[in-house]
């Protein structure tokens, strides 16, 4: 019993006061990738390399629609590796849960 109390006192409080205090997330953490659709010159390498097909392209005539479905994203970061410009950036964002997966996809069409 004494050992338990001694250890408890020595350990103190380890929990952090989140959300009042910020979450302690490493800068190395792979959170949500952000896509700068305007800046993104070529989405094809990212779409090819994405393991789950979260990034998909549809071409219609002169315009291309890129759809990103965060519901399929596994936060592997390959899309950022495949895109030569900084259009795809891995952030440390963690809280962005939608109500249901059907409200996940983001589409952008460009010429």
């Amino acid at each position: 019993m004494f050992k338990i109390l001694q250890k408890t006192l020595k350990t103190g409080t380890v929990t952090v006061n989140y959300p009042a205090d910020p979450a302690e997330i490493s800068q190395h953490f792979r959170g949500r990738p952000n896509f700068d659709f305007e800046k993104w010159k070529d989405a094809r390498p990212a779409a090819e390399v994405c393991p789950t097909g979260a990034i998909s392209l549809t071409d219609k005539g002169d315009s291309r629609t890129v759809t990103v479905d965060y519901g399929l994203c596994i936060f592997c970061g390959l899309c950022a590796e495949a895109s030569s410009d900084l259009a795809v950036r891995i952030t440390q964002a963690i809280w962005f849960l939608p109500r249901n997966t059907s409200s996940m996809p983001t589409s952008h069409t460009a010429d």
Binding site: K3, T11, V14, E24, S26, H28, F29, P51, C76
Partner: protein
């Protein structure tokens, strides 16, 4: 290098069974294939086991119908003291689709032969319990791993199944069904107990509720995407399964992984072992009421997963392994974090052990509970932590060194007691050994590449890879196909070997001890079911 003993065994085999041997090839240094003319594997297995003490590691099938006109079964053998694997490839009888069962003499392959039956539609003749195991009773008669079964097949809706369990009869005997939906956040599996009062008379367990067709999906994905599938086979062993998969690809492509990457892989594999072992020690304590110990163990585990996030970007080490090495290098501040975290963990772990040791009531609950006798462990082919606590002296890191393990010396703890206490003790010893390995690995100054580019992977190459996951022996066997795809990927998670041990271990124990006994094995549902 092939040891004298292993090459003597192979030579002996060729001489004695020469008529049956169609061909032999050394695929690579540690992997020799012997192809038989017929399905008659039993005399060969008896000979290898009897004369040479060889162990049958795993058995699996492959549909080579369109290429070679038959299905093949692969029997992987190893021998203590040799890093070599001998793979005996036997054709399944083409007219009847039958092969002789080994399960009556070798209970260790009971489920593995039934898996072949269920997924390939072949018949293990003489199997003592040929009922379905890998597909549930309500599945139609389909054979998903046959090449003519498309991955995209939409099966008609199933009816709910009513699996018949063996009745346990007697005065005052009743059945307690537990699961597949469980009280905690764990995956589905069913445990059907026959009890008389508190003591358990008989346990029947049923897995494969989370069968997802993983091995079939491996045949569809390009290899660089399949790495992520490998990581998801068993979520708490993502780095181990990912490494096993990448090693197999690297063997097939004759790739040399740079030393820095091998050392980093070793560190990460040991970090995965540490996280899970300390978590399990806490969980075992909590299952017998010592929740304070679990609180500390959870705190220790949290410190490790925070370190994991710092080193790989993910708390469970996902997205770090890749074919050719690892995906990122570590800067000085990450290396400092690693050293500090391990030092702090080592000291806190000592305190945790001292806390657990001080509780006699905990020791009383764990000792003599859930005893798995060494002879049963051996016959059932139990591996890993559960095996080592019952005298089964196997550890892939020592027996078939991979990554950078051959550079570091470490002990493999083996006990004969076979109870929950000893399964916990194996984990405690392994934590201490892992700390030692990580320290030795981080002391090496790591320069150079952490990753090399992947060449075009040649088609039709076979490769076997083994990793000692924290649960036990993981095996991946692949056959590459054209265009960076795979024709076959066989996965053996250690849980596939070990589930049957639970039946033996719970006998005679009170039902209230089932959670701690189950936890002391801590087997993967997802890894088994694939």
């Amino acid at each position: 290098m092939m040891t004298q003993a292993m090459s003597a065994m192979i030579e002996s085999l060729r001489q004695r069974f020469g008529q049956q041997v169609q061909s032999m090839r050394a695929e690579r240094e540690n992997e020799t294939y012997i192809v038989l003319r017929d399905a008659d594997i039993r005399p060969i297995t008896e000979y290898l086991r009897g004369e040479f003490g060889a162990r049958l590691v795993t058995v699996f099938a492959e549909d080579r119908g369109s290429v070679e006109g038959v299905f093949f079964n692969y029997y992987v053998f190893e021998q203590a003291g040799s890093a070599q694997y001998l793979i005996v490839q036997a054709p399944v009888r083409p007219e009847s689709l039958e092969f002789p069962s080994l399960s009556a003499e070798l209970p260790a392959v009971n489920w593995q032969e039934r898996e072949i039956q269920d997924w390939f539609g072949l018949t293990a003749v003489g199997h003592p319990n040929p009922r379905r195991v890998a597909l549930h009773d309500n599945w139609p008669d389909v054979y998903p791993l046959r090449k003519d079964f498309p991955l995209e097949t939409k099966l008609p809706p199933f009816e709910g199944e009513r699996h018949i369990y063996r009745p346990a009869l007697g005065e005052g005997v009743f059945q307690v069904p537990v699961g597949p939906v469980h009280a905690g956040i764990i995956e589905p599996g069913h445990f059907n107990f026959a009890v008389a009062g508190e003591p358990i008379l008989y346990l029947q367990l049923r897995m494969f509720y989370t069968h997802k067709g993983t091995e079939k999906l491996f045949e569809k994905l390009p290899i660089h995407k399949a790495v992520f599938l490998a990581e998801s086979i068993s979520g708490d062993s993502s780095f181990s399964h990912g490494t096993a998969f990448c090693q197999a690809i690297e063997c097939a492509a004759d790739m040399e992984v740079p030393l820095r990457a091998l050392v980093m892989r070793t560190i990460l594999l040991e970090l995965e072992r540490l996280c899970n072992h300390v978590g399990d020690i806490g969980a075992i304590a909590t299952d017998v009421g010592f929740v304070v110990a679990n609180a500390h163990a959870s705190r220790l585990r949290e410190a490790l997963v925070t370190l994991n996030e710092r080193l790989t970007g993910n708390r469970l080490l996902r997205g770090m392994i890749c074919v050719g090495g690892v995906r990122r290098g570590w800067d000085q501040s990450q290396l400092d974090s690693l050293r500090n975290a391990v030092d702090s963990f080592a000291s806190e772990f000592q305190d945790l052990m001292s806390l657990i040791d001080s509780s006699e009531s905990t020791r009383d609950r764990l000792e003599q509970t859930g005893v798995l006798r060494p002879d049963k462990a051996r016959d059932l082919g139990i591996v890993g932590v559960g095996g080592r606590a019952s005298g089964v002296d196997l550890d892939v890191r020592r027996d078939h060194p991979y990554a950078a393990y051959s550079r570091y010396s470490f002990r493999v703890p083996v006990y004969e007691g076979g109870d929950v206490w000893h399964r916990m003790q194996v984990r405690i010893d392994e934590v201490n050994e892992s700390i030692g390995i990580i320290r030795k690995a981080t002391a090496e100054s790591l320069h150079g590449d952490f990753r090399v580019p992947v060449p075009v992977i040649p088609a039709d190459r076979c490769a076997l890879s083994a990793v000692e996951g924290w649960r036990g022996e993981i095996i991946h066997w692949i056959r590459t196909g054209p265009d960076n795809h795979l024709q076959r990927c066989k996965i053996k998670d250690p849980s596939l070997n070990n589930w049957p041990a639970l039946v033996e271990a719970v006998e005679g124990n009170i039902i209230a001890d089932f959670p701690v006994i189950n936890k002391s094995f801590n087997l993967s549902y997802s890894g088994t079911d694939r």
